[in-house]
Each structure stands twice: as C-alpha cells, then as structure tokens.
C-alpha cells in the first residue's frame, strides 16, 4: 500500500527535524510531505534538508488549506492512503501503522486516532476535554457518527477519503467537520487508540474565549454542512 504522510507545518522549524527523524526511524519506507503554510522561520528549508518533499504555500491558508494541499498531492501521486500528522510533535510516528492497519484490511475509509480510547498520554485540559465531549455528542446528534476524539488531527484517509477531501475540505477548524463530510459521503469512519504528547515547542493558543469561539464555529459548521458537491464540478484536468 502506497502511503503518503502529510505534515502541515506553520513555523515549526524547531520541531520538524526531530519529528522527521522519528518518522524515518519508526515508519521507514513511507513517503512524507511537509506542507509549509507560509512560514517565516525557514520551515520549508529545514524540511527540504531532511530530504522530504515540501509543498510551499505562498500564502498562509490555515490548517484546512494546508492539509488539503497534501490530499491533492496524494491524489495526484495515486496514493492509497494519506496520513495527517501534526508538525508540532503531538503525534507519534510510531503509531502510524495502527492508523493504516484498518485501511489495509479494508475495514474503513477514514481512520481517526483517538486519545480517549485508552488511558495515558496527553489528554488536554478539563475545559478542553469537555468541549471535545460536547463536539462528539453534537456530531452523533447531527450525523449519527460515533467518534470520541473529533478534534484529533492524527488520521489516515483511504482512497475514497482522499478523493473527497481533495475536492472539499473545510478551511478553518476542519477536523470535526471533515468527519461529518466523510460520514455523509458514505465513507466508513473508524477510530483507533493513539497516545498524544504535549507540543514539543511553543504554546498551544487555547484559552477559554478561544475555546468557546472554536466550539461555536464548529457547531455552526456542523449545523449548516455545505451542500453536497455537484457531480462534475471540480474535475482534475492535469495528469
């Protein structure tokens, strides 16, 4: 199975070398691509020096646009799986295989790594956990999909999900909404247990007002899911 690891990175020059080395050690033979979302700290150069493919976005698009660039590359390369892995060191490359296994077995189209399926690891603050529980409840209510960690950005997409996300991927706060989109498109969404770590560099920018804003935005997005894409609207013309 041809897998492509997509690492969205914005000013992660400090965290990337360690992550890429771990990736090479723990998941040898897997192609990786760093999507540099308009960083100003030499993220792209650091990634290129480490020998991975780099997609340089000339304009900062935010996490959704960056991840989607990775899905576009995966589609163009004819990859069987695209794995999203955050550039800030929260996700352990050693668990890549756990995410890919259900795709390999043909049991799922989108595999989400959940930090809540088993104990231990970095579980975030109580306030943020409550927010995640609420989102998980809201997703089930709105779409009937059961996911314990809808905000997780550690996930593997099979061919059908790559196809879907290359054409339609939410631009801000994309994680919960993309699960809803996949489920609605008839894709099988499955969770596997992963252990998350605190960020290796920098501070996560999450306080109470931001968390509430995030929850409101995501709720709104889930409430008004975009209309199903019309067939034939976004046809790839390039080979």
């Amino acid at each position: 199975m041809k897998a492509l690891v997509v690492i969205p990175a914005y000013n992660e020059a400090a965290a990337l070398p360690g992550l890429l080395a771990a990736l090479r050690r723990d998941a040898p033979g897997v192609d990786a691509c760093v999507v540099d979302d308009g960083s100003r700290d030499g993220t792209a150069e650091v990634a290129a020096r480490a020998g991975v493919e780099v997609l340089r976005l000339a304009v900062n698009l935010g996490i959704g646009g960056a991840v989607q660039a990775g899905y576009l590359l995966a589609r163009r390369r004819g990859a069987d799986a695209a794995v999203q892995l955050d550039g800030d060191g929260q996700h352990d490359p050693a668990e890549l295989e756990a995410l890919l296994a259900p795709l390999r077995r043909g049991e799922a189209d989108l595999v989400v790594g959940s930090r809540f399926l088993r104990g231990g690891g970095f579980r975030s603050s109580p306030g943020r956990r409550a927010g995640i529980r609420y989102l998980s409840w809201f997703l089930r209510l709105r779409c009937g999909v059961r996911v314990t960690d809808p905000t997780s950005g550690y996930r593997a997409a099979g061919r059908a999900a790559i196809e879907l996300f290359a054409d339609a991927y939410p631009s801000d706060y994309p994680e919960p909404e993309s699960i809803a989109l996949a489920h609605r498109a008839g894709l099988r969404v499955l969770e596997v247990a992963v252990t998350m770590r605190p960020r290796s560099h920098g501070a996560s920018s999450i306080d109470l007002p931001r968390t509430l804003y995030y929850l409101a935005r995501v709720s709104l997005a889930l409430l008004f899911l975009p209309a199903r894409s019309r067939p034939g609207r976004s046809v790839e013309v390039s080979p």
């Binding site: 997609l55 976005l57 000339a58």
Partner: protein, 131 residues
C-alpha cells in the same frame, strides 16, 4: 389646490443628481472593466430602485403605508439600511469566492513548485543538455 409635495423639489433634484451620477460611476467602472458585471448587479438594481423611489416618492409612501410605517421618512431609513445590507452581503459573497479561488491557486502553485523542483533535480542529475 394641490397638496404639498412629499419631497421638496430642490431636495428631490439634488438626490436624483447624486443617485444618477452614482449610477453613471458604476456604469463607467463596468465599461472600463474595473467592476465585473456580476459584482455590479446588486449596485445597479438597488441604485435604480433608489432612483425610482426618489423620482416618485408616492411609491415609497405607498409601500410605507402598505407595511404599516406611519412616518414616510422612517421608510426611507429602512430602505437605506436594506440598500447597504444587500450590497455588503454581495461584497462578502464575492470576498468568499475570492478566498476559495486564492486557496485553490495557492495549492496548485505549491504542487507545481514541487513538480518543478523534482524535474529540475532530475535534469541536473543527467548533466547539462547537449548544445
């Protein structure tokens, strides 16, 4: 004896002059390709409606009475708000579609850049072309 006009003629003329020159400006922008037909539509329609209401104030009074506004000037304020709201929304819509286009173009650019880097690396490995 005719009743007092709803709008003093001098004010009416001034308002018409402002609206018509505004309309002329929009048309000029259109003809010099600085404004797209799609983006101009909301401005043209709402400005034409404003001209109609200024030229025939009785129209506005009629509408005001129909919806139960007693003071015609309040109807003018309400119509003005709607005018601004419609045009702001159409502006936001075109902003959103521009953002979507920027996003896809940026991604496409990044993919092409990576492709060019790959190809030029391959060319360099092969050595310089024969003259």
């Amino acid at each position: 004896m005719s009743p007092a006009p709803i709008l003093p003629p001098s004010l009416q003329l001034l308002a018409l002059a402002v609206l018509v020159s505004f309309l002329a400006w929009v048309v000029r922008l259109l003809r010099t390709h600085r404004l797209s037909v799609r983006d101009s539509l909301a401005w043209l329609l709402t400005t034409l409606a404003a001209i109609a209401a200024t030229a025939f104030p009785s129209l506005l009074v009629g509408v005001a009475q129909l919806v139960g506004i007693h003071v015609p000037s309040n109807a003018v304020f309400a119509a003005g708000l709607v005018y601004v709201a419609v045009n702001t929304l159409s502006l936001t819509i075109s902003g959103s579609s521009t953002a979507a286009a920027t996003r896809r173009l940026t991604q496409e650019c990044a993919l092409l850049r990576a492709e060019v880097a790959r190809l030029s690396a391959r060319v360099e490995r092969r050595g310089p072309d024969e003259p």
